[in-house]
């Protein structure tokens, strides 16, 4: 029996491995669309409930609250859905399928990189449903569709950066259940202690300081500036800066722990 393999060890084949791995995750979503609940049903639900529940109290009405809440829910949804990278990774590690991956002639990082890549699709879906619901409720960002897309791309970039943190948590946690509770806690804290749902100046002083330096605040502000005014403000630069720093620190650690684990 002659082996059919003559696989090259180069960048092209590495990218191919990653794309195939990403495809695997997308196929899993296709067979199990439940995996998209957190990026479809949840943003719609939150958007409607928050708008009608807090709109009157915070902004004097639903319409007035939409410019605050739509970016807020969008960002929160993205951060939450980026935590799925961690749970998915843990689930994969817990099944035998990783053993098989390890015995394949692929770049070791491919399963992890494929996961991070395929999650971009989830973020796009999340952005679409959040913004779509906003539109239905009457939100009209002033800067137009072009800037809205730029703003969404920035938000997706942010989610990608954060997903590395969750990947790390996924590697270090014992079970998928642990990851869910940790990530829910982190997501809640990060999004509530920011300007995602309420204007910062309504907060007590010490929380204002926390909220002002929360990366989520930069992201939300950058999104609002882009979508509402078509302006690439310092918050946007800050978001990109923090995102890159985060990836530069967390990704190598994650990759290192990951390679040791597998």
């Amino acid at each position: 029996m002659k082996s059919m393999i003559s696989k090259q060890n180069n960048l092209k084949s590495a990218l191919y491995d990653i794309v195939v791995m990403a495809k695997r995750n997308i196929l899993k979503i296709k067979h199990n669309p439940d995996k998209l609940i957190d990026v479809t049903v949840i943003p719609i639900f939150f958007m409607i409930v928050f708008s009608y529940l807090f709109g009157g109290a915070i902004a004097g009405g639903v319409q007035g609250y939409l410019p605050i809440i739509v970016p807020g829910i969008l960002i929160q949804t993205l951060v939450m859905s980026s935590s799925a990278t961690g749970t998915q990774l843990r689930e994969d590690l817990d099944t035998g399928v990783f053993d098989r991956f390890k015995s394949l002639p692929i770049v070791r990082i491919a399963p992890l990189a494929g996961l991070v890549t395929s999650d971009i699709l989830r973020y796009v879906v999340a952005a679409f449903f959040s913004i779509g619901t906003g539109f239905i409720l009457g939100w009209r960002p002033e800067a137009g569709v072009g800037w809205l897309i730029v703003a969404s791309l920035l938000a997706i970039f942010g989610a990608c950066a954060i997903s590395w943190v969750f990947a790390l948590i996924g590697l270090l946690s014992k079970s998928a259940a642990t990851i869910s509770s940790i990530s829910t806690m982190v997501t809640m804290m990060m999004s509530f202690l920011s300007n995602a749902f309420v204007p910062i100046d309504t907060l007590p002083h010490f929380l204002q300081i926390v909220a002002e330096h929360n990366p989520i605040t930069y992201l939300v502000t950058a999104f609002k500036d882009l979508a509402n005014h078509g302006e690439f403000t310092s918050s946007a630069s800050m978001t990109i800066f923090i995102g890159i720093i985060l990836v530069m620190i967390v990704a190598p650690i994650t990759v290192k722990i990951y390679s040791r684990k597998i």
């Binding site: 059919m4 696989k7 090259q8 695997r24 035998g96 015995s103």
Partner: protein, 309 residues
Amino acid sequence: MTELAVSTKKIVKEFPNKRAVDGISLDIKKGEIFGILGPNGAGKTTFLRMLATITKVSKGKAMIFGKDVAKDARKVRSLIGLTGQYATIDEELTAMENLKLFGQLNGLSASQSKARALELLNQFSLTEAKDRPIREFSGGMRRRLDLSVSLIVKPPLIFLDEPTTGLDPRTRGEMWEVIRNLASNGATILLTTQYLEEADQLADRLAIINHGRIISQGTPNELKSLLSDTHFEINLEHMRDAERAKGLIKAEIGQEAMISPEGTQLTVKLADTKVMTRLLVDLTQQDIEIKEFSVRKPTLDEVFLELTK
């Protein structure tokens, strides 16, 4: 290229609290079916995982077709196929998707991968189930698919970790057939098993391991002849005669016979089978009724129990 498919020299795997593999040296020739036999926790899977480059070798050296698993892991990975103890395929994906995926990860293009997948599905009688997700598969189908995934690029060396554990006897027989076919097509197969019968049926040579060490190796027949004694079994008509018969045997040939738990069967090990007739005559003369008697070689089970004592 070297003649050895696998060659290990005193390889050791140390875990923080135990030595799972404790200096195994083994040579497996090309085209052989080699069986590793041992109880649970003997180190079989760890040994295989080291060879498959999944876990690092702590000490010693392991070569696959002359390539060092530590230094040349990627080359090694392109020469092996691994079927793990547990289903190592994606439950949510269909059979076809799984095969295509692993084909592509092994460096095939999408179309090559699909063609090869169809070939394998046909070979393993899974064509009809190709578009069903794996979670709907029976245990036997799952194992077959699992195995076909390891064969997608026709690796010259195949590792099978307990390929039939948990399968019903018929499906087990089918798997054996599949494994024999692979070997007759020229693949080298290294399999682990807890079933002596399986090792006996399939393996050209086997190693019995326990506590991370090889305690014996050879062909199944060589191992059986390790316990060179022939077992002579005598079934008595009446339980009351057992002790008397035992005494008689002891007096005649100086061997301690074993009385079976139900008390009617005596087993005595004989180095020389000529004494059998004498024993039978003596017992009959003493009015001990013999229902039946038999002579047999030890089973691998007995070898195994003897060696792992």
